[in-house]
């Protein structure tokens, strides 16, 4: 906190409570939050997706999941490249509750969008916001995100996100907008004691040189 801060420390309660988010092990975080509309939307989507594919949530929603005070219209999600047959099954299952904003034709979505490394967006029917930005992993860092994942347990529900160090590095070194810097700062502050500083520097170095 800066010397001339307008924010009083009296607002902060430094007694951690048992209901506070915590790492259960290296790869699992327990979160006891009251779910908002975005959380429910993402959980709804991955409930179907996980029947067909591995996935990892990246970017802005990760910081929102852990408390950042902002909303978003899109939740970025990476999946390993899947074959067309699996995508068609996934699409038809999703189609019961969600619709794809880009096209209603799954063949076109697979061939023209996903195979060309373009993202497609899924939302609830007739409700384009919020939406899931769904794309196949392409770069080394995409695959690293899928490999270095974290499981976030919220009661009986679970979300899979990419490593916090990779999130911060990507936001600070590649994206770099004000919003991204703020997202990174939020994660840095909340997980100050849990971050692997060497891993973070390693990712930053790679991303800087790419």
């Amino acid at each position: 906190m800066t010397k001339n801060s307008f924010i009083s420390k009296n607002h902060l309660n430094f007694n951690n409570t048992p209901e506070h988010m915590e790492f259960l092990d290296k790869h699992t975080i327990k979160l006891d939050k009251v779910l908002n509309k975005l959380d429910k939307f993402v959980l709804d989507f991955v409930k179907i997706l996980k029947k067909y594919s591995d996935y990892v949530i990246i970017s802005g929603y990760v910081s929102i999941l852990f408390g950042r005070s902002r909303a978003t219209e899109g939740i970025d999600l990476l999946v390993p490249k899947m074959n067309k047959k699996t995508f068609l099954k996934l699409f038809h299952d999703l189609n019961k509750k969600f619709e794809c904003i880009n096209s209603s034709k799954p063949d076109e979505l697979y061939n023209d969008y996903l195979l060309n490394n373009n993202a497609i967006r899924f939302s609830y029917r007739d409700k384009p916001i919020p939406n899931i930005e769904f794309k196949f992993a392409k770069t080394t860092m995409d695959y690293e995100a899928l490999k270095q994942k974290l499981y976030v347990k919220m009661g009986s529900r679970e979300l899979i996100i990419s490593s916090l160090e990779l999130q911060i590095a990507f936001k600070e070194e590649v994206l770099g907008s004000e919003k991204d810097i703020e997202d990174a700062l939020h994660i840095r502050t909340v997980f100050e004691k849990n971050l692997n500083k060497n891993k973070l520097e390693h990712y930053k170095k790679i991303l800087k040189n790419e």
Binding site: M1, T2, S5, F6, I7, H11, L12, N13, F14, N15, N16, T17, E19, H20, M21, L31, D32, K33, V34, L35, N36, K37, L38, I64, F66, G67, R68, S69, R70, A71, I129, P130, E178, I181, E182, L185, H186, R188, T189, V190, E192
Partner: protein, 45 residues
């Protein structure tokens, strides 16, 4: 710097609040901060 608006000062103040809120999240129960977050997010969607 524009004579109408100090962007750099605004940026610093924003970052200060992000730090404040992150510390609030860190030091309060998940239920406590997430109720406030839910109000903000649900009202925007």
């Amino acid at each position: 710097m524009s004579k109408w608006f100090d962007k750099e000062k605004n940026r610093r103040e924003r970052l200060e609040f992000v730090r404040f809120w992150a510390n609030y999240v860190k030091t309060h129960s998940d239920q406590e901060w997430s109720k406030q977050q839910k109000e903000l997010i649900d009202s925007q969607l």
